[in-house]
C-alpha cells in the first residue's frame, strides 16, 4: 500500500502559493472541501485562479476566499447567490470566465485522462465559442475545448483510506471525482478516514492512484443552501 495519508490540513496544503491555479469540487455548497478552503483563508495567499462550478455564498465556501480578495480569476458555470462575487465582477476586480457546466466537467476529466482537448456541441453559435476552433462531425458543429491545467485539486469525499481510495455520498459527488488526478497534486479530505482494507474494492469510486494526499477533515458544517421540505399529512 502506498501511503497518501497526511497528518493534518497543514501538511495537506504544503506547497500552495499565491498565483496558483486550483480546482475545487462541489456543486453549490454540497461536497465542497470545507477544511481545505478554511486553511486557504487562514494562509491568506492570493492572486488565485479557481476552477469551480460555483463560487460559494457570501459567507461560506469559496465566498470566504472572495471576501478576502484572494481570488484573481474564477472559472465557473453558475455564480448566482453571491453578492460579493457580483460586486467584484461588475467593478472589474475579479476576472470571470463562465463556461457550460458539462464543458467544465469534461475539461477536468480530459486533464485527468490525458486528453489535451475535447470537442463539444455546447456553446456552438454563442459567445462561449468566440475565438475557438470549431469543426463539423457528421453534420453537427462542435467547439474545441482544452483540458484544464491546475496546480492543486481540492476535493471532498465521504469515506477514504490511507491508500487514497475514495467513496462519495449522494450528489456531494458532483465534480469531485472528475477533478481527482486532474491537477499536479490532488488533496482529498474525507468525513471518515477508515483503516486500509475495510473499504470493499468493489465500492471504490476513485482509486487512490488519482490522489496524492488524504486527510480527515476536523469538522463539517455541510450547510444547506435551499432547505425545501414537504409536510406530513
Amino acid at each position: 500500500m502506498i501511503n497518501k495519508k497526511v497528518g493534518s490540513v497543514d501538511d495537506a496544503l504544503q506547497g500552495v502559493k499565491s498565483g496558483m491555479t486550483f480546482m475545487f469540487g462541489g456543486f453549490g455548497l454540497s461536497g465542497i472541501a470545507e477544511n481545505s478552503i478554511a486553511k486557504l483563508v487562514e494562509l491568506g495567499i492570493n492572486n488565485l485562479t479557481c476552477i469551480s462550478n460555483n463560487a460559494g455564498v457570501d459567507d461560506f465556501g469559496l465566498g470566504l476566499l472572495l471576501h478576502q480578495k484572494q481570488i484573481k480569476k474564477m472559472i465557473s458555470s453558475y455564480v448566482g447567490e453571491n453578492d460579493e462575487f457580483e460586486r467584484q465582477m461588475l467593478s472589474g476586480e475579479l476576472d470571470v470566465e463562465l463556461i457550460p457546466q458539462g464543458t467544465l466537467a469534461e475539461r477536468c476529466r480530459a486533464a485527468q485522462a490525458g486528453f489535451p482537448a475535447i470537442y463539444t456541441p455546447a456553446g456552438f453559435g454563442t459567445e462561449v465559442a468566440e475565438g475557438k476552433e470549431t469543426r463539423e462531425f457528421n453534420g453537427k458543429m462542435y467547439v474545441l475545448e482544452h483540458a484544464f491545467k491546475a496546480d492543486f485539486a481540492f476535493v471532498k469525499a465521504w469515506k477514504g483510506d490511507a491508500a487514497g481510495n475514495l467513496i462519495f455520498k449522494g450528489t456531494a459527488r458532483n465534480f469531485n471525482p472528475n477533478m481527482c488526478g486532474a491537477a499536479t497534486i490532488t488533496v482529498a479530505e474525507v468525513e471518515e478516514l477508515v483503516p486500509v482494507g475495510t473499504l470493499d474494492p468493489n465500492h471504490i469510486h476513485i482509486p487512490g492512484i488519482f490522489v496524492q494526499r488524504i486527510y480527515q477533515g476536523a469538522k463539517y458544517e455541510k450547510r444547506i443552501e435551499q432547505r425545501t421540505v414537504r409536510q406530513k399529512n
Partner: protein, 217 residues
C-alpha cells in the same frame, strides 16, 4: 390565460412512458407534480442524480442530496448518483429524452437566450448550453411576454444566445407553439385566449392554420 402551474400541467402531457427527463429551474420544476402516475418516468438532475423524488419531510433533509437548484430532495426506488462528467454524458450523449427549461427569449428559428442580460444579470449558463446543444426534444416553458409586456417570441433574439436552432416546442401562459424554422406554428390556445391576442403578443412570425383548438388541461 394560464398561470405557472397551468403551464407546467400542460407540459406534463408531453411526458411519455419510459422517458428520462431533465427539468430546469422555475416553471419546469413544477412539471414533476403533474405527470400522470400510470406511466414510468425518471427525472434527471444535472448535479448527479437520476430518479429524483419529492422534497423530504421536515427533519429528513440531507445536505448531500440536492437538485440542480440546490434544493433538498429525496430519491425514489431505482435512483442512482453519479459524477458531473457522467451526468453530462447522459445529456450530451442524448440518453435523456426530454429537456424542459425556461427562457428569456426564443427566436422563430429556435434560438434560445436564457443566461445573461449584459450589464444587468450575469449568473452563468450552468448546464443550459449543454442541454440545448444536445437534447433531441426541447420544450421551453415561459410567459409569452416579459414584465414590460414585450414579446419573448421574437424574429431574432436580442440577448446573448444559449443555443442555436434547438427549441422544438414552446408552452406559454397563452399558447402552445411549435418551432418550425419558418415561424411559430400555433397549435393550441390557452383557455379564454383568442388567436388575435396571441398574435398581438408574438413579435416573430406566427403561423395560424385552420381552427386552433383550446388546450385541454
Amino acid at each position: 390565460m394560464l398561470d405557472k402551474n397551468g403551464i407546467a400541467k400542460r407540459i406534463a402531457k408531453e411526458v411519455q412512458d419510459g422517458y428520462y427527463v431533465n427539468l430546469g429551474i422555475g416553471i419546469p420544476t413544477l412539471v414533476a407534480n403533474y405527470v400522470r402516475d400510470d406511466i414510468e418516468v425518471e427525472f434527471q438532475s444535472e448535479n448527479g442524480v437520476l430518479g429524483m423524488g419529492p422534497f423530504p419531510f421536515e427533519g429528513e433533509e440531507d445536505a448531500d442530496i440536492i437538485n440542480a437548484g440546490k434544493q433538498t430532495i429525496t430519491t425514489l426506488p431505482g435512483a442512482s448518483f453519479f459524477d458531473s462528467a457522467m451526468s453530462f454524458s447522459m445529456i450530451r450523449g442524448q440518453h435523456v429524452h426530454l429537456t424542459i427549461l425556461g427562457a428569456m427569449e426564443v427566436s422563430e428559428k429556435g434560438d434560445i437566450a436564457n443566461w445573461k442580460i449584459p450589464g444587468k444579470m450575469v449568473k452563468g449558463m450552468g448546464g443550459a448550453m449543454d442541454l440545448v446543444a444536445s437534447a433531441e426534444n426541447i420544450i421551453v416553458a415561459m410567459m409569452h411576454t416579459n414584465k414590460a409586456g414585450e414579446s419573448k417570441l421574437l424574429k431574432k433574439c436580442s440577448l446573448p444566445l444559449t443555443g442555436v436552432k434547438c427549441v422544438k416546442k414552446i408552452v406559454t401562459n397563452l399558447a402552445v407553439l411549435e418551432v418550425t424554422g419558418k415561424g411559430f406554428k400555433l397549435l393550441e390556445r390557452a383557455p379564454g385566449i383568442s388567436v388575435e391576442e396571441i398574435q398581438k403578443a408574438t413579435e416573430g412570425k406566427l403561423i395560424v392554420e385552420g381552427t386552433i383548438p383550446e388546450m385541454d388541461i
